[in-house]
Symmetry: D2
């Protein structure tokens, strides 16, 4: 007897239905009438809202966050008119900031890695499976150990060494490679501290994975510190990179249970599983336009 | 040195701000313009939407579910006019079903229990803390072992024995006690099977907690069966009671890890922690008007 | 139809079989032959080992930790002879420290609380159910709000106010109440910092519950700090109290998921569930003689 | 500034210290003196016990399970003499069954897969990282879609088609390939039902991953069934394959939370993460000689 397995959601086949779908993210000072303004503008353009999540951080006049997924027949053609209406209704009318993304257009994600492959390969494997709406135009590393794996998957790999004096030159080289080619940069255990200047020049969001449950064990060697403190759980934190190291807005966190019998190497190994899972969720949510930054926090809708 | 502890959210103090807030639940066939219709109706009555979650089960013409929390100055006075507008706009205009609840009016919850006290006492304790927006007008049991605990907490207790031949009479007595006094009934490990007739007559939703991860181990003795099968996790399931035992729409589930060293009694003990946690979440969500039934499923917004 | 519920493990009924069972905890420098020495000594006294867990923190000459549960017919009578043999074999022979506890003798646990009742009531309820092998000879609080609940459960309550100048007098009074009456002290959200002198004088282990995932958010106001930092998980930590606040050996930790929509009060409420669960596990393990301290770590067997 | 990353536990470098370590698994009818017999035998051969876990399923005369890790200088040379002593002391003396494995000898694991790659690639990646003490002498599939990935990792791949009439021939071919070459077979989402005859002929343990939280959703299409039932958690189960499909002894299980908004395809995608994690843990524990079968249960020490 043969069991016929339903193949994993062939997203390629899904792209067609996604073709006319888009996400609208809106953020700003809460005022009465915002939901009406958004839904009316969408309705006037004959867009049908598929899902809508709205959150206000205070019942009386807080900050307003909204994510709407809608379907609009002939989105490609209709988009610029819709954007003009949104500009008038939301921007001029209410002083809101907003962003529109077509669901059929995957985000272009550059991945920076060093010698560890667990976060890198997990992202590339999920991309190949169609789990994350992204393309990966390039992987950059200050080492070359992951080059073969990356190229086997058909993805360009660039080796940009970065030691002491070369650091500024390395950042220049990376900025050059990324310019206009990517929508987001993911630091998949990239073991170099990037300068604030780099973050400013790169011009797109940068997501980092930290191998601890922040704000515990800030800085280097978190697994060693966790072992010394005798904690019973270890964790990982995905956050937007900012100039203040380990202080950027947190997108996602998770933990795994450990015991006294786990060595620091065991913590590192078990932590790797949490790191890759947490980073994959953070990157997925970012690419699905679910994450909005507000000060040191994120709102994930 | 004295540490001043912030007292747990004194909801009493919160009731004032809640006074003008309400929840609107809407369900029906999805059609373009529904979000606009809701938000426009609310805006016309000067209601400000605090949060809104909307879900449609298919991108093209599925079923529409929406939960909106809004604030309307002078809700008590304005309510009937708003309801009339909703009736016209949502009911007549779109054939939607909807329900409006004032947040300041807690649900009236009757609890039925037997000899186990873990689910019962956890609910009563959460009610006393102000964690669940409910009042408990009565506890009914076919045993009297929990009577003192219940009455110590200031809650009326009724002993309704129910053995073999008395079953129908017991159901009559319970229906009589509940009639017009409660908005929802919670079976907190009530070890009597209620008839379909009872469920029909009681006229309000009935929430049950089953001591297994349904649909595994349907029926009696789930912990014994779990031990025999050698599972590594045990669970609990809160669901709306229906005439088909253990088949009602699931509201919430959770599990806890067990090992070969746990006896059936250990499973029962560890399971009790999951049962009370799962039931408390389900009752909270129901009382916060977050749960919508649709066939054998629930949508929790 | 009546469902007969198996009553929760009536531990009272279990005490008889536990009568001849004991736990032996052993700790010291690892050397070849330790397991043989322990098992031979037990076998010579006709004790049958029911379970045994042994852990050494390095393969070559680390520290040795062992927990053995055994059954010895007529333990009461045979105990002193066995202890003499253990003293010779383990103490003199190997320089090990060890401790023998009869399983039928529950630990005497004093609970110190303030105004929050969630940890306190959960421990008392578990004690009444027979889930934790302990008796509670007294509850002490610097407030009197929990007095009625405690006394309703048949447990003596002592009100020992402790503000500014009275602090030393309060500690004197507590030491006086505890002296020779208890085996362990549990701080169930007791919001007073105890002096190192107090910890020395009290002479038994003191277990504290901290309302954060230590070492994150050390000190006061962890839920507020967690909200400000925008974490996606909050936690609780049970640890032995030491003179260095929040630095004692960790017994147990756990976390719960939160979102941007949770206010600081929500974090406090959700955190309360984790706090009581974590503290209950830590107290249970301590009372079951599963926890051994070694420097800043605990070994839980 | 360069952050020096501690490379992931280079197990290659660890193999030397592991050279003289072994695991002894013992199972049988509990009788007084068993721990002494084991520890005395080991001590007489100058083996130092590093860790020991023992479990008996009843306090009075149940079944005895023990796992001991020990270090014995010159294990290769000393092994046969030790085994002879164990045969006499444990086998003849107590009627126990036992098994000795050198830690430095990884298990030989054959993996059978179909078209899904998530479990397969995760196992191969963990093997390459040195996380699981195993070698993979071959991957066999009834499809060829995973061939390139497998061979890129340097592992032999055999395509053994298996449709309707070919089924017996396919099983013959697989038995032939496996014979004497492997210590355990892992079905990594191998979508063919293997005959009881195959399981008998293959002569080594076979581990399967089922894509549900058994015993819920036995049989085909568990994600579809889970969607229809509206469960709030989905799971995966790793178990030893037996002739009774989905009924073999469970090694490990886990779950992940889902919502009403997840489609059957989403469940499949999220389930894949649980499947690979659960299977990896089960295979690791098996290869570390932690799992003992007893009837329909497993004891994991």
């Amino acid at each position: 007897m043969t069991i016929v397995e339903t193949p994993m959601a062939a997203r390629g086949a899904d792209l067609d239905p996604l073709r006319d779908q888009a996400v609208l993210l809106v953020q700003g000072q809460d005022r009465p009438g915002l939901v009406r303004a958004v839904s009316t503008t969408l309705a006037e353009h004959r867009a049908n809202i598929i899902s809508l999540d709205q959150y206000t951080d205070h019942a009386n006049g807080g900050r307003f966050f909204q994510r709407a997924v809608f379907r609009l027949e002939g989105l490609d053609v209709a988009r610029s008119a819709l954007e003009e209406s949104l500009r008038v209704a939301l921007g001029e009318g209410f002083g809101l900031t907003w962003r529109l993304s077509a669901l059929a257009t995957p985000k272009r994600v550059a991945i920076l890695a060093s010698t560890s492959d667990h976060c890198l390969l997990d992202l590339l494997w999920r991309q190949r499976r169609g789990e994350i709406p992204m393309t990966v135009p390039m992987v950059i590393s200050n080492h070359s150990v992951v080059a073969d794996d990356v190229r086997f998957l058909g993805i360009p790999f660039f080796h940009v060494p970065s030691s002491g004096p070369d650091k500024a030159a390395a950042e220049d080289r990376i900025v050059e490679l990324l310019a206009d080619n990517v929508d987001v940069v993911v630091l998949a255990r990239y073991m170099q501290i990037l300068s604030g200047d780099f973050l400013a020049r790169v011009g797109v969001p940068v997501i980092n994975i930290h191998h601890s449950f922040l704000p515990a064990f800030i800085g280097a060697g978190p697994y060693r510190k966790a072992k010394e403190r005798g904690v019973k759980l270890i964790g990982a934190t995905a956050h937007y990179a900012t100039e203040d190291l380990d202080e950027g807005p947190i997108i996602e966190q998770d933990v795994v249970r450990v015991t006294h019998a786990d060595t620091a190497a065991d913590l590192q190994r078990r932590g790797a599983d949490v790191e890759r899972a947490v980073l994959a969720r953070a990157v997925t949510w970012h690419c699905e336009d679910r994450v909005m930054r507000h000060g040191r926090e994120t709102v994930v809708l």
